[in-house]
Symmetry: C2
Subunit: 320 residues, 2 copies
Amino acid sequence: MNEDMVLRKIEDATRKSRGGGVHLGIGDDTAIWRPTKGFETILTCDWSLEGSHFLLEKHPPEAIGWKALARATSDIAAMGGIARCFLLSLALPTELTGKWLTKFLAGTGRAAKKFGCVLAGGDTTRRKDVLINVSVVGEVRPGRALLRSGAKAGDALFVSGTLGQADVGLRELLAGKGLARATNRNLSKHMYPEPRLELGRWLAERRLATAMMDLSDGLSTDLPRLCAASGVGARIQAEALPRVELRDRDDAMQLALHGGDDYELMFSVAARNVGRVPSEYRGVALTRIGEIVAGRKIRLAGEDGEEAELVAGGWDPFRE
Amino acid sequence: MNEDMVLRKIEDATRKSRGGGVHLGIGDDTAIWRPTKGFETILTCDWSLEGSHFLLEKHPPEAIGWKALARATSDIAAMGGIARCFLLSLALPTELTGKWLTKFLAGTGRAAKKFGCVLAGGDTTRRKDVLINVSVVGEVRPGRALLRSGAKAGDALFVSGTLGQADVGLRELLAGKGLARATNRNLSKHMYPEPRLELGRWLAERRLATAMMDLSDGLSTDLPRLCAASGVGARIQAEALPRVELRDRDDAMQLALHGGDDYELMFSVAARNVGRVPSEYRGVALTRIGEIVAGRKIRLAGEDGEEAELVAGGWDPFRE
């Protein structure tokens, strides 16, 4: 196995997916991509690292491949954009360039097809640990991208889906023996997350949201980021949070507040437009969880009506 | 130190460089970039990994930062493109988020300014080893990109610069004590390579080259790639190779044939255009080293006139 053979394998595995404006794919010094006339290009990248984001003994290669692309593509959804193509950087040990790589690429390929995102190029090298970096190129109509900075006091705050579900899936995966299988919704959500591309695009095209971001590190970590970018505060109603059904209700609440990896969308909507937000969009629930307020404080109103500051407890790699 | 602080540090360090079509930089879910009307977008990415591509005890952070961007930007030069913006993915231990990161970013920032390439976004996480991945976005006029696949039998083959120089620099670096300093040309070439952006663009705009690629893994590894893409063979004149001046002439020849990391351009030129290739372009030597031939063989003609097959001896991470 040499580098050119690994590249050919990647090329073969993804040959079926064409389009996305990719005019020249893997095999030259760069890919060539033709931007759509009248659109802006949006660019994002995401790490997926062994030990940090997945475990070789627990996560099947298909799921690692799927999720590496899904994580990065979720940022495209969070702007209200359309995913076009991606670059896959992969470092792995020689002994994983056989079956493991084939399955990994099958997972990436399925995700690429589902998200409408075409492999354009990449870089491979040998490494003891499996390291993945995915860059995704998307497009959005000029001025329509939904930034983090547009929220105003008085806006209502919404989230899609169920919060904390991916973390429940992670727990189940860690509790199981050997390679996990996506045998229920929680495990599926953790292993094969689906970026909310259609919802994001729908909100952007209708100019329904004033600000948006995806929830990757947990509500209590990500909401302060949206608020800081917009120069506002927020008040969340604990009982409104769409939680996983667990016997331990406190646990479900903690997971909804701090659980990471959900890749749901959080967005603010001007009061006059709240009535235009349906309770679900194409099968994904949309829930009003609170409102944007003046000031900088982020507060959580409990079921008893008591308010407390929401303290970040989500995923931050540099928090010791 | 938390993730947002690391991001802010990166943002601050690179705030000076603006433009490149970047409309929204670090701080949101994606960057927004405006492609130039009438151009195609070219995309590439490159790993720079501790232990594989640099050593923390030998390479100063400025050089690691510079070279991570230079490596990826060299692929843009190899297409004859213009570098526009880049995404920086960085994983590092918390103890390097202070001075080390500041110096690293200074190196990346200097390279960005030199190459006309603006930081648009990225991703950071914590990791025991320093891991870097850089994606570069460039542009080229439609149909003008110089691919690997255009070489024809009868074309002359050229390289820029001196081959093997970066490997001499690497040897000197490894032989030295502690952090290296770029005290001579060989060390500079290894630590602060300069992608041949101007040369590449000049060749593309004048339609002078029929095929082109950059030499990152060594002539004996990269030439077969260009030949395979074009469906041709090549004959190299050993004595014509632009070598480093070393006391041991055989050593200099081996380095010219197999030394990696030079980031020079290799390009083929139709026989009728050979006279239009100057002996140097903006201070960079251009040397005719052989010709493209029919068939698939790649042969090396020695000073004695004897010909032998050129066997790949350059850098291939998967070659055990």
